[in-house]
Amino acid sequence: MDWTNILHGAQQLTWLEYIVRGIVVYIALITMVRLMGQREITQLTAVDFIVAITIGTIAATPLSTPTSSMWAPLLSVLVVIAVKMLNTYLGMKSQWFERLSSGEPVTVIKNGKIQEQAMKKGLLTLDTLMAELRRNKVFNLNDVDLAILETSGKINVLKKREQQSVTKQDLAVDSGVSFFPAFLVKEGRILYDNLEEAGLSESWLRSQLQAMGLKGLETVFSAQLSTTGELYVDTYDDTTPQKRNVARDLILSQIKKLEAQSRQFAQQSNDTHTGQIYQELNAKAQQVYQKLTQAWGETTSLTISTEK
């Protein structure tokens, strides 16, 4: 293997030299593309697409042409990336420049009406528009309030109010406190930063694990706090404790269901005798609930109290 041949090119390269060239080009490209930032990878605009093709074509030269040096193509790639970065930087600084280089979003449907001029400007056919609408789960033009052709070529759709999905806000449903879904334990180690961020303490976490019948942190593979404030624990030994806990939760939820049923039926009942029976049932159900929670510990339920 001759490094001069690898770097400057030769009439013929050995297999090993080709392999080394491939590895060097790969590492150089990864480094340079990382310099461009995450945005370039996830949001390909027309300019990004051209840059990506250009880089790919230039970088392929030293891999397929033995006489080509490695420096010139890699330098060219570096120049293209530098220009692209300058373009992005200028676009961030100037709205005018951003519009010039990347174009601007075009409104193609307004109040369910197609904007023909905008369609021409965006070189968009009716079939393509309808396909994009269907991708957005819209099948009638009349359902659309606004459709915008983005610079990436995608179409984003805003449905009319009556066609939008019902939200919890619409139903006036209290969704409660929302937690950031964070891991509190990973491979037996407590993640103190996440615990603190959630406003919880180590003693609280240990008491929860104890209530689940777990002997210690070393038995826990992961413990995650869900957005609803529930603690989901995954143990190395995926058997008894978790299952037991689920069974207990099921029993307690059945008692709560019984309480709710008896309360509701007592209210609905027309005759006094039946009403009294349901009330008696409700009181007994509460007693049973108390007995069991005392025996299993107050923290049997996996739901975290929001009173921190």
Binding site: R244, A247, Q261, L281
Partner: protein, 70 residues
Amino acid sequence: MKKLKQLKSVESTLLGLKGDLETERQLATNSNEAAAISSALLDVADMLKLIEQQIEQVQKVQGDNTNGLD
């Protein structure tokens, strides 16, 4: 009919609860837990008896009414 439906619904919940409690009693790891579950089971059995009596009464009344119509 609504009354019977409500009673049957409660009976179904109680039967499910009874079954789960019996399973849990077998798995109890200490005497306190076993005692609490046994006590809960007795309460559930009482409630079940009460509901079953009510169901019988309602069914009897309905049966009488049907015979009366005949």
